[in-house]
Subunit: 348 residues, 2 copies
């Protein structure tokens, strides 16, 4: 590898994901133990705390917890604790704090406060010795190895998988939907390569990209939007398909590239109206997912192997990471050295 | 009024807000009664369900409920109910469904399902006879009158105020912070007029606008972003100040207009790092709020009268609505007739 080649860290870490994911499944028993301890103190309500890419993993986990565990779930607004000192009663609450570095000050403060207010706290990090891991009662290690690129890739997919394994363990599952996830990730990278290359060409001169999905894949739309914005400096925005039709579709026209997630399952099926509408508005529609080939209005379909719908986000983000990398390079940028980025949030 | 003048409905409804807000405070006893009934069955958790502008009002309410009532709170992802049929146990949960029309199918389904699963349900609408009001156990009427413009203005500020009055009533408050809100709204429109006019000139040729805030005003940043996108078709995006520094600041440069909320209080104070950073990145920073004049790096400060911080979002959105209207007109668009917009969500 050329030591000065733009995007080399990001490219290498994208390619590591099949091994990282397979390794995490092999180490499932650690996560299963955490899940079993949570099941012994069954929560009635769940909260998720995160920032940046981890916040998108938290959105994914919110769907998992609501659908698979039947618990009402909220995403934490850290400032209600860190700025306003909200005195919430968190008895019977499960707080899952998600941070690859485990070093964000505000998540640390939120986790400490939640634990002191009665919540059962779990830290999901890539850094087992981090302050966040110390602060929480239970910990999940996502085992992604050191991440050198500023743009999170392998820590994102590993966080998704760790959260899936955790939720599955809480309900006493055996993780059967992800037993071959490493192999599927390998196939995803291979099968999507040609589509990604075409997508890079189509979007090279795009002035705005809008991403959209429904259901579990909404997390992928959020992550796609962030990844494209922070590597290619494009104005991007993610919408749930339902919200998009409610108002922002007015801003969609022939100058808009729309990246839509279309995975087999209920979320993807609910997108057909959205895809028809943006196409009628003149947008260039790129679809990614295991049902992408079924979207007749798509200008380009990037395939992803089919899985259980709740696992699809672990795979469908892979071609999107490659698209972000390819687009940054095509536009003459180095995604390993984005302007003004720090890897750990310093805000309170 | 010229019957074909672009934006005439939106302009008229913006100007109505002082009367609408004052009228809602006068009718406070209806909301206080709903609050008292909730206080008799004290919830342990709160959920908020909404779409579009109402979703931003829900974000505001989330901060109110967490800080003023001390309840852990979540925003509902409707699809976990409508697509995936999540079977959540909602005993001890307060569900507040927010919709000006009260006619969104998915909110109706979410509200019915939540009620059948044990939640205490409240509909906050501008349509007392709506299906949503029928479906919920309790109802709050925001009394904004018919809204003819497609872009929500008076229903947004009235929803914020109604939610504030509701939360204040649940804790047994006397609404003292909003007793003169109508008069303050009038002053807001007058005091901000010159600043708004300058902001329209500055942003007329902007290619992207980013909005940002922390704390209660984060809801205003979200609403500002949506309002600008749906009336002027600009690529816009809202970030919490903390999230912006974590990654997306990489996309901020001299071609970016940043609309920052700076209200007196903890949320505004926590923005100083953010304002410094975006200004160093070369962005054109426009600040709106009661502390806008204290932001030395701002290219333009649009003043808003000072109030208790938790009430500021009711006022600070007014100049932003005028900015959205003015910008649409300056760019030759009619905000009363946006492309492809429907006033009621039809998605499930």
């Amino acid at each position: 590898m050329n030591e000065t080649e733009p995007g080399r860290h990001m490219a290498a870490e994208i390619a590591e994901q099949p091994d990282v994911l397979a390794g995490l499944v092999r180490a499932r028993s650690d996560i299963a133990e955490v899940g079993a301890r949570i099941a012994q103190r069954p929560p009635r309500f769940a909260l998720l705390a995160a920032r940046g890419s981890s916040d998108h993993a938290a959105v994914y986990a919110k769907y998992l917890v609501e659908v698979l565990l039947g618990l009402p779930t909220g995403l934490v607004s850290p400032s209600t604790t860190t700025l306003y000192g909200a005195e919430q009663d968190l008895t019977d609450v499960l707080l899952i704090s998600v941070s690859q570095s485990g070093g964000s000050y505000d998540l640390l403060e939120v986790t400490q406060a939640a634990r002191s207010r009665g919540a059962l706290t779990v830290a999901v990090t890539n850094t087992p010795s981090s302050p966040l891991t110390e602060a929480a009662e239970l910990a999940v290690d996502i085992r992604a190895g050191t991440e050198r690129a500023v743009a999170a890739t392998k820590t994102y997919s590993a966080t998704l998988l760790a959260l899936y394994l955790l939720v599955d363990a809480i309900r006493g599952g055996k993780a059967e939907h992800v037993s071959d996830i490493g192999e599927l990730a390998e196939r995803t990278l291979t099968d999507s390569a040609e589509g990604v290359e075409q997508a890079v060409s189509r979007c090279r001169f795009a002035e705005r990209i809008l991403t959209t999905a429904r259901g579990y894949s909404y997390a992928t739309a959020l992550e796609a939007s962030l990844k494209l914005a922070e590597t290619s400096y494009l104005p991007t925005r993610a919408y749930s398909g339902a919200d998009l039709l409610h108002g922002p579709v007015a801003a969609v026209d022939a100058t808009t590239a729309v990246l839509g997630l279309a995975s087999a399952g209920k979320g993807g099926a609910a997108m057909s109206d959205v895809f028809d509408t943006v196409t009628r508005s003149g947008a260039d529609l790129l679809c990614v997912g295991s049902a992408a080939h079924t979207v007749s209005s798509a200008a380009l379909a990037v395939p992803v192997p089919e899985t259980a719908e709740e696992v699809a986000p672990v795979l469908e983000v892979l071609p999107i990471q490659r698209l972000a990398l390819g687009l940054a390079l095509a536009r003459g940028l180095d995604p390993d050295a984005p302007r003004g980025l720090r890897k750990v949030t310093r805000t309170r």
